[in-house]
Amino acid sequence: MSPPPFTTLTGVAAPMPQDNIDTDVIFPARFLLITARDGLGTYAFHDRRTDADYVLNQPAFRDPPFLVAGDNFGSGSSREQAVWALTGLGVRCVIAPGFGEIFHGNCLRNGLLPITLAADCVARLLDAAAAQETFTVDLSAQTLTVSGDILVFDITPERKAALLNGWDETSLLLTSHAAAIDAFEARQCRQQPWLYPQDASA
């Protein structure tokens, strides 16, 4: 399934200053019984949204294209539903000092751009987000612009190209590395035949 391409994005950012916002908070486990991947935005931060004052219940932040969060955002479970819930809510970019690693990988495969910036920088962005300033990201230029300040962020060239073009990783691997995969298997089958029981008994 190809993710939507990511080029530029402009809009408000919902501030979530807490550290360690885990995937159980983003998408409570009881909703994992749903097997669809569409329509999960309703469940994003479900148990936090029961508080009328919660940031996502404030009119300005109801459908935020950006989130600015504390450290270790998306820690915990591997559930990709956490990412689908965010994209379902309209979020396409999350900025934090650090991310749960599996969550980070899941973002990249779904056209959601995770930006890692230093904690002091994120602290300033949290203030700007709370003041409802406009955030603009240009992936090609690797810049985040907030009230005239231009911040540069890192991303590997491969990840950047995949996001810009909305490439499906599986198709990419199958088309560009098929021969290498075949060669690896032939080599491994000789070295560790016990990993190829079917081939041995055939």
């Binding site: 360690n20 749903i34 990709e80 599996i102 990988g105 899941n106 599986t170 298997e185």
Partner: protein, 483 residues
């Protein structure tokens, strides 16, 4: 390269992680990124449906069906309306029933091996992988589940992935990965009686923080690890993710080989000695350099209990809880305040004597036979306190059968524990085993996140002996006083 080059350069010393990485590179993509070959894929009902949908939409088939193994564990009930404890066809929750039926249809369509609901191999994915011999040293193992770190206890490169990556593994048997930095945690000192692997894991997480090992593959080493059972090593590696690391590792050794020999899917005949000889090469070389080193002297450790809403918010039993007012860092102060409020605890208090409503013994962290024995040793001849709902959920059917053969089920039921059927149960609260708002649970599981065991529920992570002691006392207590 010169053709008359005869002098072979000495091999640079490598870490266990680097050896696992190097032996699975299909193609180098950049300095620290590669396409890695994936030998093994475990599936469960919750994270796999969308991967199968993607396979169907793209018209793809599994590249190697024999490398996948599926089981339902997260959503399965742990009770059965039938006298023979059969669960197939009895699931009352329509969503859970539909999810499990979808898994069963998928494994049938794609010819994936499946441990059915009433099979002797059903259980938590991270318990049955090792028990069946599906988990082997020197392999790469993935699963749509963050606690896949568990399998690293066998010297396998094992990590949790999302559903999209599962689809990639199904079709291409490979994943693009970024090479992790390395961290060695060396456990030394004289291990005190009753100090569980869980206590060591929690103390490690508290020491480095919930994000402290992010970006690192963590190898547990040293004399304490060498002396540990496979169950204990699995508990350690299982919890590595709670320090932010996707990968926990222990080098395979005689304990590993003795555990695996004769397992259903382990190599047999002439393959066995060949496999063991190959597996022995998976140890960090003397002189291998780690990016970070941490030494923990376990002789100084006491049983650990989490007090907050991340596993890093853990203290030795009896210690005074932190006072947020004394924490300088604003983010940490806010985190501590929020955790104390959610947990309904006050700064400076001790957890000793805090009443519980529930005790849960089970999960991929502590649902193995050794864990049940440790809990039963505390429980034997005692009774669960009035008002406490205490359940024991074996990690697998095989564990349940083994425990019953030893009479552990009778020890637990005589004491007022419920003896359940295997599954993830109250660790993830996706079935009907869950806390209600305000409930407080002494739990052997791995996460104390807000709502993890049920909306509004409060979790205290601890070892099986400590959870058993809390169930008996009706409050958090020091299990050493009951031993």
């Amino acid at each position: 390269m010169s053709q008359n080059q005869h002098v072979k350069m000495p091999e640079p010393a490598r870490t266990l992680y680097r050896k696992l990485w190097d032996s699975h590179v299909v193609a180098d993509l950049s300095d620290d990124e590669a396409l890695l070959y994936i030998d093994r894929h475990l599936l469960h009902e919750v994270s796999s449906p969308q991967a199968f949908v993607a396979m169907r939409e793209a018209g793809r088939r599994l590249r190697r069906p024999g490398t996948h193994y599926a089981v339902a564990d997260h959503a399965v009930p742990t009770q059965s309306p039938r006298r023979d404890h059969a669960r197939a066809g009895t699931i009352a929750d329509p969503q859970a029933a539909a999810q499990i039926a979808e898994l069963e249809a998928n494994v049938a369509d794609f010819a994936v091996a499946y441990a059915g609901l009433d099979s002797d191999e059903q259980g938590i994915v991270h318990v049955i992988g090792p028990e069946s011999g599906f988990t082997l040293p020197g392999t790469t193992i993935v699963c749509g589940d963050s606690h896949t770190t568990t399998h690293g206890a066998f010297g396998a490169l094992a990590f949790g992935i999302g559903a999209s990556e599962q689809g990639t593994v199904m079709a291409a048997q490979c994943l693009r990965q970024t090479r992790a930095r390395t961290m060695r945690v060396t456990l030394i000192g004289e291990r005190p009686p009753l100090l569980a692997a869980k206590d060591i894991a929690l103390a490690f997480i508290a020491a480095v923080g919930a994000h402290g090992a992010a970006g690192h593959a963590v190898e547990f080493a040293g004399p304490i690890v060498t002396a540990m059972s496979m169950a204990e090593r699995m508990t350690l590696c299982n919890m590595a993710i709670e320090a932010g690391s996707r990968i926990g590792l222990v080098a395979p050794d005689v304990t590993t080989f003795a555990f695996l020999e004769g397992r259903r899917l382990a190599p047999r005949g002439t393959s066995w000695p060949a496999a063991v000889a190959y597996w022995r090469t998976f140890a960090s070389d003397p002189g291998a350099v780690f990016d970070r080193e941490l030494v923990i002297d376990v002789s100084t450790l006491a049983p650990q209990v989490s007090w907050g809403t991340t596993p890093a918010q853990t203290l030795p039993v009896g210690a005074a809880l932190p006072d947020p007012a004394a924490i300088a860092d604003p983010a940490q102060r806010q985190q501590a305040e929020a955790a104390l409020t959610y947990m309904d605890l006050t700064p400076g208090q001790s957890l000793l004597g805090v009443p519980i409503t529930h005790a849960f013994i089970g999960s991929c962290t502590n649902g193995r036979i050794e864990d049940l024995r440790a809990a039963a040793a505390i429980v034997r001849g005692r009774h669960v306190a009035p008002g406490v709902e205490a359940i024991v959920v074996p990690g697998s059917a095989a564990t349940r059968i083994a425990a019953e053969a030893e009479g552990l089920d009778a020890v637990f039921t005589a004491a007022g524990f419920e003896w359940r059927l295997p599954g993830c149960s109250m660790c993830v609260a996706m079935n009907d085993d869950r806390l209600s708002p305000g409930d407080r649970c002494a739990s052997t599981s791995n996460r104390n996140f807000e709502g993890r065991q049920g909306h509004g529920g409060r979790t205290h992570l601890m070892s099986p002996a400590m959870a058993a002691a809390a169930a008996i006392a009706g409050a958090i207590t020091d299990a050493r006083e009951m031993a």
